[in-house]
């Protein structure tokens, strides 16, 4: 929609809005939006709380092309109410994934540009249901052969229902700024105390939930620099081949997670986990540039496993 510096190939993914990410990710002028803002499919609930609605309820969905291949795309706007799952925004995501699941003539690749703190508290029940329906739809779509790729690198990260949804995808790409987890840092601090997790310690937060540690633990399949071009490249690579989702994969995943718990359960921070994983100088990871980090992660067994 906008041709400006914010959507150019070197523009920051982290800083961009959902619409700018869609424009920067897809081939130029290939995006066709479903339920566009002028249709005003917005939240019917926010008015009760005297809160402003958004014309797209914070989710942009549609179809387009990535390096010439037809894709469905959905982008959460992390700046609008934390990119939250609610009745309308959730239904848009669920509808898109179900369309790919049910119609072989539609794009069989879905790119989910996650940027969300989880469920919108003002629409809690609808939001929780939306997350459950979306996860179910993703699993069914994957079983039907659809590739569902999560791209995580926004300000809100992917927390709560967004973290769960991300984990359900065929493949996950994350940038250093991106964070993937269920309970957010402040939630943990509030419930367990500052001794357990200090949410104001940004280095701690990012080393625990951030892109680098997720990639090293195998919780993400690819690492992207914070730019439109990097996410374009990584999405192209990931969607070219996705693992089959079947019972064997699920069993392997359970075994792997149990082994990870055993191996890393005693660690109390990210650096000690990286050391156990066999990284020679784990304290250098934090400042390592993207190129060296990508090479390191790609060389490790733990990071590259179809059973995530």
């Amino acid at each position: 929609m906008m041709e400006d510096v914010a959507t150019s190939s070197t523009a920051s993914w982290f800083q961009a809005t959902a619409r700018q990410r869609v424009a920067g990710l897809l081939d130029p002028n290939s995006f066709v939006e479903f339920l566009e803002p002028s249709e005003r499919v917005q939240s019917p609930h926010l008015q009760l709380f005297d809160l402003p609605a958004a014309f797209d309820d914070g989710v942009v969905i549609g179809c387009g092309k990535l390096h010439g291949k037809d894709v469905f795309v959905a982008a959460q706007e992390g700046q609008f109410m934390g990119g939250t799952f609610a009745e309308v925004s959730g239904a848009k995501l669920v509808g898109l994934v179900r369309a790919a699941r049910d119609h072989k003539n539609l794009p069989q690749t879905v790119l989910l540009l996650m940027d969300s703190g989880g469920v919108r508290l003002q629409e809690g029940n609808a939001g929780e249901l939306a997350v459950a329906e979306l996860m179910r739809a993703i699993v069914q779509a994957r079983c039907a052969g659809v590739a569902v790729i999560a791209l995580v690198g926004g300000r809100a990260g992917a927390f709560g229902g967004a973290g769960l949804t991300t984990a359900t995808c065929s493949r996950i790409a994350v940038s250093e700024q991106g964070r993937i987890a269920v309970s957010g840092p402040e939630v943990i601090e509030t419930n367990k105390g500052v001794e357990e997790f200090d949410a104001s310690d940004k280095a701690l937060v990012w080393s625990t939930d951030g892109g680098k540690t997720r990639r090293l633990l195998g919780g993400a399949d690819a690492f992207a620099e914070d730019s439109m071009e990097a996410f374009r490249t990584v999405a192209k690579t990931l969607m070219a081949k996705v693992p089959v989702l079947d019972l064997t994969t699920m069993r392997a995943e359970h075994e792997r997670l149990a082994a990870r718990q055993e191996r890393l359960g005693a660690c109390d921070d990210a650096v000690s986990m990286w050391r156990v994983l066999g990284i020679e100088a784990p304290e250098t990871i934090r400042d390592m540039n993207s190129k060296d980090f990508t090479a390191l992660a790609n060389s490790m067994k733990e990071s590259n496993h179809d059973a995530r």
């Binding site: 005297d50 609605a53 958004a54 014309f55």
Partner: protein, 103 residues
């Protein structure tokens, strides 16, 4: 929520062929502006939904300034406000109108 509605007669139709555009995000100190070319040549309507009450005169002045400068004839402009300052509102209106002018 407060809803404000301003009608203006612009000096000319806004050039360009684009029939709709959106700019900005509903976030703290920000706003989204949806522009639609649905009105007769010189007519312009601005509809604002804002959770911050009591700034009617400020909105009125910013919108009047914008219409004077950009002459957005033919546009219906709808705003969801997240508590943006007048300079941000003006910036988004001008950005939106220039998006509509692209071919």
């Amino acid at each position: 929520m407060q809803t404000l509605n301003f009608r203006h007669t612009a000096s000319r139709r806004l050039p360009g062929k684009k029939d709709k555009a959106i700019i900005g995000v509903v976030a703290s100190g920000n706003l989204e502006v949806l522009l639609e070319r649905v009105l007769p040549e010189a007519a312009c309507e601005v509809v604002i939904a804002t959770p911050i009450r009591g700034y009617d005169e400020t909105w009125k002045a910013v919108v009047a300034d914008f219409v004077e400068r950009c002459s957005p004839g033919g546009l219906r402009i709808s705003i969801n406000d997240g508590g943006a300052r007048p300079d941000t509102v003006y910036l988004r209106l001008v950005q939106g109108s220039s998006l509509m002018e692209t071919k």
